[in-house]
């Protein structure tokens, strides 16, 4: 008998840390292969199940960064403590194809919680600088309280190639004020440049427009879509965009191949 694909397995929660007033990062013992950009269905039995993308992939663990959205699942999940168990199934989705990105100058633009699914990709290229001749990162958050992964950002800053912005002040010497897309023109683009854009729909729309204007080719832009995904298996229908299911065909899409899809 084939195993029941809906059945979640119990995993040990190694750590839970607060990222911001509403965001928490769960570290879970997990050793099956996982790609940057993939997601898991995380559940607390009797409370519910929700999809979360992986925000760090370690040798024997994965991190997932979860916003306490005040529903049924996230308050219960974020109230857990290390040593307790959490139920997981996955990973699901295609994830980023590192083969497409390796060897190319990269621009990675992440807006708000969109940093979470793209962070494993940044981690990868930070750990393997030989795999890209140039890594430029654009990070945008609404305001200072929303900033996630501060310790990681500090590390990335040390290497350079980072533009950090906040939509609203107050002024901060490290963070520029303005919307992320307006900083795209400060990046260096060559004909090989590949770009990855992840964030809220409006941020993605204007960042892509700015990248195209800045001569990044359509085929060289990848995005990651966020949708409600109740099953991760192509059955529940919530994540359908045109003829595509985000849980099966995505969440990572090549922009040229997906720009005609509509919700």
């Amino acid at each position: 008998m084939t195993p029941n694909p809906y059945k979640p397995e119990k995993y040990l929660l190694l750590d839970i840390s607060s990222q911001s007033a509403t965001e928490y990062t769960l570290r879970v013992r997990f050793d099956r292969p996982t790609l940057p950009g993939q997601f898991f269905e995380v559940s607390l039995p009797k409370f519910g199940e929700s999809p979360f993308s992986v925000s760090e992939i370690g040798p024997n663990y994965i991190d997932m960064t979860i916003r306490n959205a005040g529903g049924r699942v996230t308050p219960a999940v974020t109230a857990l403590t290390a040593g307790q168990y959490i139920h997981i199934r996955g990973p699901y989705g295609n994830g980023f194809d590192l083969g497409e990105l390796r060897g190319r100058p990269l621009i990675i633009a992440a807006g708000g919680v969109g940093l979470s699914p793209v962070k494993p990709l940044i981690d990868h290229f930070q750990a393997h600088p030989e795999e890209t001749p140039d890594l430029q990162i654009l990070l945008g958050f609404k305001k200072a309280e929303d900033i996630l992964f501060r310790p990681d950002i500090e590390k990335w800053r040390a290497r350079g190639g980072l533009i950090m912005s906040l939509d609203q002040g107050p002024e901060d010497p490290d963070w520029r004020i303005g919307l992320l897309p307006q900083f795209v023109k400060e990046t260096t683009v060559t004909k090989d440049t590949a770009a990855v854009v992840v964030g809220p729909p409006v941020m993605m729309k204007f960042t892509i427009a700015a990248l195209l204007e800045h001569q990044v080719a359509e085929e060289s832009i990848w995005i990651s879509q966020e949708r409600k995904m109740c099953c991760g298996l192509g059955h529940c229908g919530h994540c359908k965009i045109s003829h595509s299911y985000v849980c099966l065909d995505g969440p990572v899409y090549n922009y040229a191949q997906s720009k005609d899809l509509f919700d």
Partner: protein
């Protein structure tokens, strides 16, 4: 080969075969307006109870995709799957070509489209389809326009009238039905056809976001009330939402279920951050229409819509599904999309 059985003989022979009989039956006074009846799929103790001369208000999908289905039981820290008893008795399910065609779409979603769904597979394995003929195209019917007429993937097919049933058998499980019965000369009163007022012409070629942005959908912003009835009666709507509960008298125990979801109802696409898609009802209408007659085919090679017309039958705002398709096709012909 066709052969004739009167109702008593048919019941006798089917009892010996030992399957459950399910088909469209009349439920008096249970219609959605006062003093009206409802026709829905339920268990038959005799084939005489089968309603063959009217359309059923509900489809047969509940047999394989129940409104509410328990996936797991949680007992303290334990997760267990429902234990199944001897509830896998075959079901001889009498249904029309449209509802039979719908099973192809359901199979595609649950079994062939992604990872096979064990809950669906288990219920689906019970079904032995018995095709019933349509005496005439019913109101809002357009199976032929979408290619759902003349379905042939049945175990047996029966033409019902006052005296009994003219049958033909494909599945050897039902061979004993024809035992000692002479062949009769019979022409199946098919293929089924469209109701003259429900004929549709589907848009040809590829549709892009221009089709989504077209003004034709704005009419539905006003008319549609997002009640989701169209989804619930649709034989091919399969969307569901996961739901966990704990028992009131013992919160340590509970279950995970899936329940039907509707792309027309608020909250269908809402995510944790509060962001959702298709706020306007017209956009939800467009999403549903295009899934049924365009997107699904693009992914799977055949139309999801089977032309049963129940969405039009049931709409409290009298929105015609065929009307929407024809408006879309007209816009394409005018070169607007």
């Amino acid at each position: 080969m066709f052969f004739h059985l009167d109702y008593e003989e048919a019941d006798r022979r089917l009892t010996q075969i030992g399957c459950l009989l399910i088909g469209p039956t009349l439920h008096q006074g249970e219609g959605r307006c006062s003093d009206t009846d409802q026709i829905r799929y339920s268990r038959l103790s005799s084939l005489r109870q089968l309603v063959w001369n009217r359309k059923s208000d509900w489809s047969a999908k509940e047999l394989v995709s129940p409104q509410r289905q328990s996936l797991f039981y949680f007992t303290e820290e334990m997760v267990s799957e429902p234990a199944y008893g001897n509830d896998l008795q075959p079901i001889l399910l009498f249904l029309r070509s449209c509802d039979l065609a719908a099973f192809k779409a359901l199979d595609q979603v649950y079994l062939n489209g992604g990872v096979a769904d064990p809950y669906y597979r288990r219920l689906r394995s019970r079904i032995r389809p018995g095709l019933i003929s349509c005496p005439r195209p019913f109101e809002n019917c357009f199976c032929r326009s979408v290619g759902a007429d003349g379905e042939e993937d049945y175990s047996l097919a029966g033409h019902f009238d006052e005296d009994g049933i003219v049958l033909t058998v494909k599945n050897p499980e039902f061979n004993s039905l024809s035992l000692d019965r002479p062949a009769v000369d019979f022409r199946w009163p098919a293929p089924e056809s469209d109701h003259p007022e429900a004929r549709v012409e589907l848009p040809e070629g590829d549709l892009d976001s221009q089709a989504a942005d077209h003004d034709l959908w704005r009419e539905y912003d006003e008319r549609c009330v997002a009640c989701g009835r169209c989804n619930l009666v649709c034989p091919t709507c399969t969307c569901f939402t996961m739901q966990d509960i704990h028992y009131r008298d013992n919160p340590a125990n509970g279950e995970r279920r899936r329940v039907w979801a509707s792309c027309m109802i608020d909250g269908f696409s809402d995510m944790a951050g509060g962001h959702g898609f298709r706020g306007r009802y017209g956009d939800r209408m467009r999403f549903r229409v295009l899934h049924k007659i365009y997107d699904f085919k693009k992914r799977h090679g055949f139309h999801m819509c089977v032309g049963c017309g129940r969405c039009s039958d049931v709409c409290p705002q009298y929105i015609s599904f065929t009307g929407a398709i024809n408006k879309l096709t007209a816009a394409r012909r005018r070169g607007e999309i």
